[in-house]
Subunit: 197 residues, 2 copies
């Protein structure tokens, strides 16, 4: 019933999270009949540009459009502290908070045996490489879930003999929820009250 | 804070209706980090393809990827009845209903003096061209709003001397709402009970 090009657009939009059939239909019709032609082209280009240019930083695995994330290169930041997070989204969210000025390392997930995800699937080797005598603190900022806790404990035990200070975000985080659903104040609290293992 | 290509993508997604800053952020992060690269490319291509290939039918103004909409060319349909609607979306919705087998004409809007939209801004000349001695009925299926009613009355008076049967969708439609929010049963009722002016 719909012209094929329009149906294709709907089907493709429906691949996005929380975009159902009705919403995809509404968005597709808006794109072809109400959005400026130029804006629609920009939208398509920005999708391609984003997937082409954004990749993990070679050092920290933070998603970036550079070789190395500007955060890792930023000389005004404290690189003797590394916050370990599961995902680049967590970095972006922490940066919104604006009170943390150290470095980051993105694991690319959490240990989850039920889904077959082990330490080998995470960016742990690259983290180990970054741990040297200059490092003062490793803040483990994984989710307050079973997987987050398990990953934190694994890292703690892995670096036990390195004699570095390993801390964990305080349980200001609501237990059992995803890091990225926390509000800013809760997060600030969680960073302030981070506790040494 | 976000890599530029990612921020651009968020800004572009935010141009869509009911996509706010938070949702645009979530969708953009999903596109770059969770969606298959191929699917993301397909999505971008389908936006370009849709805006490049979909245009109004030269006869009926129904959005189509052909010169002439397949509905207008379909020999199994009754072309002696033309349903006049404001928008191609209304055609797609009527087609979902599946009980109407006549032709359509898309006005491209409704008369709305408060927004400076007059009969000259609508596809009325092309509608007049389609009115010939073969035409048995013109069903005016504009919204049950002031503008819809005004446009209906304008068309009725315009074609008065042509001695064609002009009908209007029955007020099974809830008064004062947009056609496209009506449910299928209400619509079927409204088509069945269409009334002659």
């Amino acid at each position: 019933m719909y012209p094929k090009a329009l149906k294709d657009l709907m089907d493709n939009l429906e691949k996005l999270p929380s975009i159902g059939e009705k919403t995809a239909e509404r968005l597709a019709l808006y794109i072809i009949s109400e959005l400026d032609r130029e804006d629609a082209n920009l939208m398509a280009d920005s999708i391609k540009n984003a997937i082409d240019s954004i990749r993990p930083c070679k050092i920290s695995n933070i998603l970036t459009d550079q070789e190395i994330s500007p955060i890792v290169l930023d000389e005004t930041r404290d690189h003797t502290t590394i916050m370990v997070v599961a995902d680049s989204k967590d970095v972006f969210m922490m940066e919104k908070m604006g009170t943390y000025h150290g470095d980051y390392h993105v694991l690319g997930g959490l240990i989850d045996f039920s889904r077959g995800i082990t330490d080998n699937d995470l960016n742990i080797e690259s983290l180990t490489k970054r741990i040297n005598s200059d490092l003062k603190e490793l803040i483990i900022a994984t989710n307050g879930t079973v997987e987050g806790e398990l990953t934190a404990q694994y890292l703690k035990s892995l670096y036990e003999e390195k004699q570095i200070k390993v801390t964990r975000l305080a349980y200001g985080l609501p237990v059992g929820t995803d890091l990225r659903y926390a509000d800013v104040l809760t997060l600030i609290k969680a960073v302030e009250n981070r506790q040494e293992y």
